[in-house]
Symmetry: C2
Subunit: 409 residues, 2 copies
């Protein structure tokens, strides 16, 4: 992409009401635009980051046999009334609206009810199970406060996966597969070593659920971890009873802040029973379907990664999610000419700063935008047959021969 051709500009200052670092930096660097608190547009660079995150999640979920669909935001109250969750007392973050032809609708804050209801058309026998169905969908949550940038959205992008099983053992088996897939996802996103599977409360049908918490000072959750993070608990279950249960009574725990980037939950009969999702088993008796649900906050992840790795100069993207790999700057007529030559055919991996601006400004923007590698070709480096390569994360600089550059990058 050519910076001269994109409408986005880096901004000197973030909007005054943007108090979160992720929101401020992503706005200044031209990734997002704030419509209102907790409601953000994705600009060209931001959309590429979102798509990169989705691609990694999609690949890992497809590899364990999950199928992608897309459900709607508008929600018929009926299935939600059967589980008691259409009530504003029960779920206090609904956005609700009215059909012109009469009747109240909700905007989906999650999709357990509609997918359970839908699968009644497709599941009748044990032969139809197990099933794993997911989507990337915009969720709506009417948060009273939303001051954490894209870490807490009123409108945000989520990956939600639902699994359907004939037996509890099969749910347990798949749950463990998702745990592994999630670890691979967070590893590939570059936050594997700071993201920890965390015990959280389980609800009626399960003792615990699990969250994936990324250690982050501005994270909204409080978590407790032992020395090597092999046992991590959300504050809500950090008590003597649970510690005894986990055999961790004698461990030392420290408190830290975490951002919940994923959660996995054995729902069992929670939704399938009130909604009547049943099947005929091998023994010819009718049984209720076991369910699990598994979320990942896609837009929140963009904020977490932005906030986690940023330094005082700007964003620092891991290669797997960066909107482009290379930030290209030419200085002098010959330098620019060589850059054009390099850019040609690499439009999808190179962000070419071909704007009519001073090198200093371009360097500052390259640091704000935070692509992994900056390539500078100037008349001077060209005279030596080299380009200057700068690693955004370490700041390390080295010279690379032009021949090697064209071959390797």
């Amino acid at each position: 992409m050519r910076l001269s051709k994109t409408f986005i500009k880096t901004l000197r200052e973030a909007p005054k009401d943007e108090v979160a670092k992720n929101g401020a930096l992503l706005t200044r660097a031209g990734y997002i635009h704030k419509e209102m608190a907790g409601v953000y547009d994705y600009l060209p660079l931001g959309l590429r980051v979102i798509e990169n995150i989705k691609k990694i999640i999609r690949e890992e979920l497809n590899s364990i046999g999950c199928e992608e669909i897309s459900m709607t935001a508008l929600q018929n109250p009926e299935p939600w009334e059967k589980t008691g969750r259409f009530s504003d007392q029960e779920v206090d973050i609904w956005f609700k609206t009215e059909l012109a032809s009469g009747g109240e609708l909700g905007l989906a804050p999650t999709h357990e009810e509609p997918i359970t209801e839908m699968l009644k058309s497709y599941v009748s026998s044990y032969k139809d199970l197990p099933l794993y169905v997911y989507q990337f969908q915009t969720k709506f949550r009417n948060e009273l406060r939303a001051k954490s940038g894209i870490l807490r959205g009123r409108e945000f992008l989520m990956k939600d996966l639902y699994s359907f099983h004939a037996t509890e053992e099969d749910l347990d088996r798949f749950y463990a597969e998702v745990e592994e897939a999630y670890r691979r996802i967070f590893d590939r996103l570059g936050i594997g070593d700071c993201t920890h599977e965390t015990f959280a409360s389980g609800g009626i049908f399960s003792k615990y659920s699990h969250e994936f918490q990324t250690v982050l000072p501005v994270g909204e959750d409080t978590i407790y971890h032992n020395a090597d993070y092999s046992i991590v608990l959300n504050k809500e279950v950090f008590n003597d009873e649970v510690l005894t249960d986990l055999g961790a009574k004698d461990e030392k725990f420290e408190e830290t802040a975490g951002a919940e980037v994923g959660n996995i939950f054995k729902l069992k009969y929670k939704y399938s029973e009130p909604l009547g999702l049943k099947f005929i088993d091998e023994d010819n008796t009718q049984k209720i379907v076991y369910m699990g649900c598994y979320g990942i906050g896609v837009s929140r992840l963009m904020g977490v990664i932005a906030e986690k790795f940023a330094d005082n100069k700007g964003l620092v993207w891991p290669e797997s999610v960066a909107p482009f790999k290379y930030y290209l700057v030419g200085i002098g007529d010959e330098g620019v000419k060589k850059c054009e030559e390099f850019y040609s055919g690499r439009e999808d991996t190179v962000l070419f700063d071909d704007r009519d601006k001073r090198p200093g400004e371009k360097f500052a923007d390259s640091e704000l935008i935070g692509l992994p590698t900056r390539i500078v070709i100037s008349d001077k480096t060209l005279a030596d047959g080299v380009a200057e390569i700068t690693d955004r994360k370490t700041g390390e600089q080295r010279m690379m021969s032009i021949a090697e550059l064209f071959e390797k990058f």
Copy 2:
């Protein structure tokens, strides 16, 4: 994809309340699921069709320099109040909702206002123009009636492109480029020869806008065309004055029904003036930005294509939008074994009917699902070293050697 592994099933009957052919067929074939009138989920096959349509549109728009973004559904009333369009009297299809922290919001039925407002952060000089920005976005329209399947959605997917220019001439130039791009898009979607650029009413600032109407008996628009479709008019502008204006007073026109799959509109100052989107021109004076907007109904297109080509056996997809190219059926142990061999490495283009069902059922489903080509390998054909190839559109059958099959497909 293996049919045995997907949760979708073809259904004998469509829901009773599904009166539209596109809705009934796409539901029976497992492409969509109805949440309520005008609100549909996309199942795995349907999502693939949607993504294929998006890919074609994206490629053609990127080729004329457009940039992709993604804006929000939740709308702050402020910019809409400046243009008078937040009023339910002015725009009668709003879904509205309330923020928990106070204040009314709307769900975007279109995005002229927010994008014009947003670009005030990015446009200040003639050097920033022209700009072409688009998105694929879910739109919400509170239609009183929605009985046309996915031809008229209350929640639907639209591609909306907005262009911004320093001069009227530049708007005219780009408008013509979009006309060409739209023709290429509809050609590639397989509906080029039945989709006609149509004069429609223009509003305050322009004499006419243009629609792209696909001739379709159930289309909701009435259009008038001359013998060779070189002049086509929407009923709303089919009058003596306009015919005189177009020099078509002596032509013979016939009436037919059309489905509007796209529209293009010279907005000029309509939104930029009330919202104050201005720039400093080369002559150092402040001027108002010229705008154009260009829509394509993505989910409607899926319905139009489904409805247009379907026959009495089911769907008939053009190759460019079909969710898979080949429907693969094995008969007998050796036939199935050869199918497995063929399927391996072709998971993305082949829908493998590996279900435990009779061939007759599989053939019927292959016709309902409507992929372009069916491949049958049976023990019997295999003995002759061939596979049976059936063209879904023409019904034509031929034998192809197994070697050629592996090489060509």
